[in-house]
């Protein structure tokens, strides 16, 4: 009991300080006191986000060798490299909360961690590279721009970096679709088919509807999340509805419209059962994605071991040279 009372002291002061930071819409930094639930929520969200970037490399890496030109190949490689970079920025941010990189990696490889459901859909044609850039990265940007102001400093800073790089991703996707849409009839059909397949999964990237999103309220109270899932989804639909006209394509949703009364964009119903199935690991590519990640991790083991061995050898060499120098000086 006495111990409880003692430990209540600093925690109460910490909580008061934390509450004040929240009220001022200021930022929490790694060494600040924070509620355990806040820490847990952030580790979960940031690591899931990092995993999504890493797994998200796969659908596109799959097309690097078959990109239609050297230019497209170079662009795609740069984009996939960016996704890897984004994953690493985010793992670093999550690590500041006291969870090690290895723990997060292990959780992903063991299939215990979640990542965005979108990456469990297959990229079956070249036009999918366009649709992924335009719709998937577009939805990601919509989600991520407000996260630049997340109350946790390292997360916000990582997101600033990510967002700067992400806009190239969306534009290159748009350009792929634009060129296909103005190509042959078959190319235009391929572009439309890709948009048809990626539209609904991209809309579901914003998460379940507000009335079925139990964690949203708390995340908003903690200034991690700034807008609700439905709010962001509606904004995204509005942007896509305009941009698709420039492409000369259409969205596969006859119910997309701007509601004058609410001032919001509306869309047709989404298949949330499918969303839950994919999240639960039963999507079209879940097994393939995890298997590939595991394989890449295992195949890279010798590189990690060699680098560590080399570093140890160099350190030993430096230590012995330093010792020799010391001996020489003694003799002199």
């Amino acid at each position: 009991m006495a111990q409880d009372l003692q430990s209540a002291g600093p925690d109460e002061a910490g909580q008061a300080y934390f509450d004040r930071i929240m009220a001022e819409d200021s930022r929490i930094e790694p060494r600040d006191w924070m509620p355990e639930a806040y820490r847990r929520t952030l580790v979960r969200q940031i690591s899931q986000h990092a995993h999504s970037e890493i797994i998200g490399m796969q659908p596109e890496a799959n097309w690097i060798t078959r990109a239609p030109s050297l230019k497209r190949k170079a662009i795609l490689m740069a984009k996939v490299q960016d996704e890897a970079g984004h994953g690493l920025y985010l793992y670093s941010a999550a690590e500041t909360l006291g969870t090690s990189r290895d723990e997060m990696m292990d959780a992903l490889i063991a299939g215990k961690a979640r990542y965005s459901s979108i990456f469990n859909y297959p990229a079956v044609t070249w036009a999918d590279m366009g649709a992924i850039g335009w719709l998937v990265d577009g939805a990601a940007i919509c989600n991520q721009v407000p996260l630049c102001r997340a109350s946790y400093g390292p997360y916000g800073r990582a997101m600033v970096r990510v967002c700067k790089e992400e806009s190239f991703h969306q534009r290159q996707g748009f350009e792929i679709l634009l060129e296909l849409a103005h190509g042959t009839e078959a190319q235009k059909e391929m572009a439309q088919d890709a948009v048809n397949r990626w539209y609904a999964p991209a809309l579901m990237m914003f998460g379940p509807p507000d009335d079925d999103s139990p964690n949203s309220k708390q995340s908003m109270a903690w200034n991690i999340k700034r807008f609700s899932n439905d709010e962001l989804r509606s904004r995204f639909v509005g942007m896509m509805a305009e941009q698709v006209k420039v492409l000369g394509l259409s969205l596969p949703d006859p119910e997309v419209r701007f509601n004058e009364d609410t001032g919001k964009w509306e869309h047709g119903p989404l298949d949330w059962e499918e969303f839950k199935e994919v999240l639960a690991g039963r999507g079209p590519c879940n097994a393939q994605r995890l298997e590939r990640r595991r394989e890449a991790h295992e195949n890279g083991a010798w590189v990690r071991e060699a680098a560590a061995a080399y570093a140890a050898k160099q350190a030993a060499k430096r230590a012995s040279t330093a010792a020799d120098d010391l001996d020489v000086r003694k003799v002199a």
């Binding site: 820490r39 796969q58 799959n62 670093s92 160099q314």
Partner: protein, 132 residues
Amino acid sequence: MVEKSMTPGRDTAAAGGTTAPAAPVPESAPEHTSGLPPQRHGWPLWEVFVRSSRGLSHVHAGSLHAPDAEMALRNARDLYTRRNEGVSIWVVPAEAIAASDPDSKGSFFESPQGKDYRHATYYTKSEGVKHL
């Protein structure tokens, strides 16, 4: 539906997970000290500072894991300067950084209260005098 032949392409940057630690576990980095017990780590952690152009200071860009300083520099180049963001990089072992205690905000940093005289704006009588 399954994608056509997955290309076993390079996946280098994703190799964040590591084995065989080559150096001690960093525990006192400013960004990476949470007050929680130390966790299992692979390669040591490095803080990265980038000078964006000549004449400017190095600014903290982020962190990364690497087995030694040379690899840390190479990784930092790939991770933080893919778009000409820098002309010079510093990498510092996270454990080598000493940081002030966030809880001592009041006592550690001198109170600015009543010390307006440290700022030029405190001196108003010279207003209107040229080049002052």
